[in-house]
Symmetry: C2
Subunit: 278 residues, 2 copies
């Protein structure tokens, strides 16, 4: 009781427990990214699809839940309707407009880019190994973008089921290792067009992308991704905490704060989704 008008204590123990969900994600990210270079951390908005029914996963739970996708036989589909995409575009533009009234470091900046990704299978001269290369070019000028030649490797995925929302999400760790360009004699195996609106805010970036594959020129995919902009800084924060505290006795740190803001962003985007037909 707060007969004296004071707010209640946070618990018998005098404090809040650590946020189990956020610390799970923070630990998972650290375990999978530590010791790696050129990491990319992103969350995609989409749906967890049951491979048996080809419908959205049904699980008798009521809250946001990190699931074992293999055990449940689900795959993640990163797509949304064009209408939903337009609605996110409008929302994000409004946030940009509003943020012009804020101090500079709190503002959201906006960029529109059209890029073409060309994919190559290149045999390495030294090892004989075949490497999958992605070359990203400016769609208009066809010049290769800075750091535009990479080989991408999937490290780990974390799938989050959101039964009370219109979308689920997946957090992914990839490496994007810079590579020399493919030999001129090499032909791309395929290509895709990306029409991307990027909204940068502090260490986070929302990419709203329309992706066109040559075999489906009239059926673009619509994607929303949230990315950590400076993954090196993010990893440095994790390292500062984890290496100073090798027991990993859980304590809150600026690293967990970055993870929470990452989760806050994807959660608030999902909660602000309008539910159009997919």
């Amino acid at each position: 009781m707060t007969e004296n008008g004071l707010p209640p204590m946070r618990s018998l123990f005098g404090a809040d427990p650590l946020d189990e969900f956020a610390t799970f994600v923070a630990d998972w990210l650290w375990q999978n990214m530590q010791g790696r270079a050129n990491i990319e951390i992103e969350a995609k908005l989409g749906l967890l699809i049951d491979r048996q029914t080809n419908m959205r996963l049904q699980l008798p739970v009521y809250n946001e839940t990190i699931i074992d996708a293999r055990a449940l036989g689900v795959r993640f589909e990163s797509n949304m309707s064009m209408k939903q995409h337009a609605s996110f575009n409008k929302l994000l533009n409004e946030l940009v407009a509003y943020s012009t009234t804020l101090p500079e470091h709190e503002r959201i900046t906006y960029k529109h880019q059209k890029e073409t990704d060309f994919f190559y299978d290149v045999q390495m001269q030294d090892t004989g190994e075949t490497v999958h290369l992605r070359v990203t070019r400016d769609s208009k000028t066809q010049s290769v973008k800075p750091n535009g030649v990479v080989t991408k490797q999937r490290i780990a995925d974390l799938n989050v089921f959101c039964p009370a929302r219109a979308y689920d999400y997946r957090i992914s760790i990839n490496t994007e290792t810079p590579m020399p360009p493919p030999p001129d004699t090499c032909e791309p195996t395929y290509s895709r067009e990306k029409d991307r609106l990027s909204y940068a805010h502090q260490n986070y970036q929302v990419d709203l992308t329309q992706v066109l594959l040559p075999n489906k020129p009239h059926e673009p995919n619509h994607e929303l991704e949230l990315e950590i902009r400076d993954a090196t800084y993010f990893m440095q924060l994790a390292q500062d905490t984890r290496l100073r505290n090798p027991e990993m006795t859980q304590e809150w740190s600026p690293y967990e704060d970055q993870v929470v803001v990452f989760l806050n962003n994807i959660r608030l985007l999902i909660r602000n989704a309008d539910t159009f037909m997919a």
Copy 2:
């Protein structure tokens, strides 16, 4: 990035999202308790047991999850080992000792009670209906406790699976309606002995109880319950928020704060459980 040394903004939207888990529990409690008198709100620590395997529920999820117990075919068992019970007793005694250094309204107070519950099936004279009565007596003096004659009705349960912890928990709403004592001619159908340590802290109370049933005199049940002490005050807080805001557009209020402290307490007790063999 926090190049300027300032903490990051909480999100693109400038704020944290509402805690989905806590607001779900707050809404569920309000929906089930509104309009009722003599409500009792409690959380019990225990295990969700799969009815098929008779083992703890296995579900491929990683975080604290509110489940549909019927759909999953599970029941809740409120029990723990004597060793675990002793360990909670020690922990709570330490919290009591520590709290003596705190301002009075932050202290934890302690009470040891031995009570006997007698259960009666009484036929109501007016309606002919059979009512299940519980009469609670002081085990030593055998005098009926204040408000010691009630009929208890189960209103609703919310089951929470904690895959990363040694225990799950269940939140229950019951009504305990005061009743006239049963006629002297009426014999109890059964009785149970309760040896209870109660730890009261602000509007919460932890009951650590050893329950003896006459048919199992050497196998006491060991239970931990967390109860809302003043449920009327708790319900009043909910009402203040919900009736002022009939759209239930979710806003944080002192009611949600009470719910979070309730959850904080049960979560921290579970996290501080030692894992002995059940």
